[in-house]
Symmetry: C2
Subunit: 339 residues, 2 copies
Amino acid sequence: MNLKELAAHLGLSQTTVSRALNGYPEVSEATRTRVREAAERLEYRPNAAARRLATGRTGTVAIIFPSERSLLLDPHFLDFLAGVAEKLADDDVELTLRATRRNDELETYRRLVRNRRVDGFIVSSPLIEDERVRLLSDLDVPFVLHGRTDTQAPYAYLDIDNEGAFRRATELLVDLGHRRIGLLNGKRELNFARDREAGYLAALAAHGIAPDPGLIVNAAMTEEIGYRNASALLARPQRPTALLAASVLLAFGAYRAARDLGLVIGKDVSVIAHDDGLPFLKAETLDPPLATTVSPIRAGGYRLAELLLARINGNPPEDLREVAPVDLVFRASIGRMLT
Amino acid sequence: MNLKELAAHLGLSQTTVSRALNGYPEVSEATRTRVREAAERLEYRPNAAARRLATGRTGTVAIIFPSERSLLLDPHFLDFLAGVAEKLADDDVELTLRATRRNDELETYRRLVRNRRVDGFIVSSPLIEDERVRLLSDLDVPFVLHGRTDTQAPYAYLDIDNEGAFRRATELLVDLGHRRIGLLNGKRELNFARDREAGYLAALAAHGIAPDPGLIVNAAMTEEIGYRNASALLARPQRPTALLAASVLLAFGAYRAARDLGLVIGKDVSVIAHDDGLPFLKAETLDPPLATTVSPIRAGGYRLAELLLARINGNPPEDLREVAPVDLVFRASIGRMLT
DNA sequence: TTGTAAGCGTTATCAG
DNA sequence: CTGATAACGCTTACAA
């Protein structure tokens, strides 16, 4: 059942039927409902390829992920993806996922744009300086950044308040009497890691505590690395009394490190982490329950997709910028500093 | 630069240029190379939408994932996806990801087929009885299953030797003197879980050991659930001396449970698990290193995509069936049963 | 308010 | 071996 047949069936022209279905104003209400009902009854579905060819719009958005960059292969990305996919499915927009080798990344964006394969992009894990943002701005193609960047361009974004989250978490620890606080952070080039460090430093400064660079670690966010780096920090002669981790997985490694050293979490060493709300690794079920700053990454994906669709529909990037607040949840993994 | 322009530029007809580029045999070698070079030089890229419209083929494959089925939100799925995406990118085939609510799942497949949106599907995590397989067979649309199923249909698949893997792992434990072996398995309705249990039971039977149903647990494969179920098993009056886990994450939980009970892993209790080769949770870096059966799921994704492309190109499902062997890696988490 | 007809950029058919 | 020409199914000026 295509447009031609449907039109013939109704004794109307293709034009009118097309207009009726696509909500053009010049169609009379009577014919519109008549057309709608027939389309429904006959299960008419417009051919996507034909529409693409005629309009130049693809009804598709893309996420490009460098298959070698381990960063995007962490579990957060999947949950984020699920959120994005949910929103796009709601609007019947296609989501295409494209792997790319490291050095071809920008070229992959360029090609997809040049070949008119997509209407827009979702760009995740922005770097402090991010070439992708510059490129997509230059190409003048709709995109939304999951996070922010220093790269100058009028881009739309959805970020969480990383700086505020880590400022509050650090302040909480300071209020509990902690002075030597280790920071297990993500990789240095990532914008969110920089923001989190800034929050941490701001809180220390506000309380007149001199930061110790030796207490700050930047690395990938895996359990193993959390274990290794927490072990190193806790083995220092003046060991930190609290650890602030950029992910639950890192904190999980820190738990293991503390246990190895015979330290009781929440007593000998306090641990707090940022929680992206992963379904299969819950902070509240760890032992002891892990205090966290929390902002579900999946909901972020959903919202981000909404912003992208708005961007594609012509809204200017300036109107599509959001910073989601972050909650702080107190749990048994943090305690008052013993003197 | 489109076909018309390219043809004009070369002084040839569109037909000839199209044929030359698409490898039709009736074109002379001379013109073919001439056309190829010009296309390369002028950066001609065929318009995907136009091609779709003309051929009816979409150059797209889909993976549908029920966003509420926690199963597909585990980290294995992402790694699998990465493998699939790599192969498809190599062949410039689009991968579209579609979320669906639980009860709409079959309808989503149906719609995508009816609307000619995709050339084929990748179906993961098959159930012992799987309606998706029956539906796609009935619709006569190319698809490849990641795993197998009891559902009768001539489907293509890539599976790993789950039965063999768990038979060997169990036998290894038996050879080390273990008689009470707990099985932390995936959900009961999953085909791979059934196969793994079959391997476990076969090994016990081969050694004349009566299986204890109380030692077999079916549940989701998270750390927390591994912890909980391992705790329960190890708290039994006649506690198992070894645990066989369906994933590293489950084993990780089991490690935690054992530690809680003051049991030394590899001595008081042996643990072995299946390892899908996740990049951020490595069996060899656990403490103690975790013995595993291993079959990288990412490579599986890559291979599966190859099979799907072959299926789309007309190969019959019977020729596209593979069972990948599984390696067994001995590490310190298993030891001889102390008497 | 509705219709006619010309695209959109390919591939497929048929003829030469 | 090459070329006209007609699809493919939709949208969109332009006309009525």
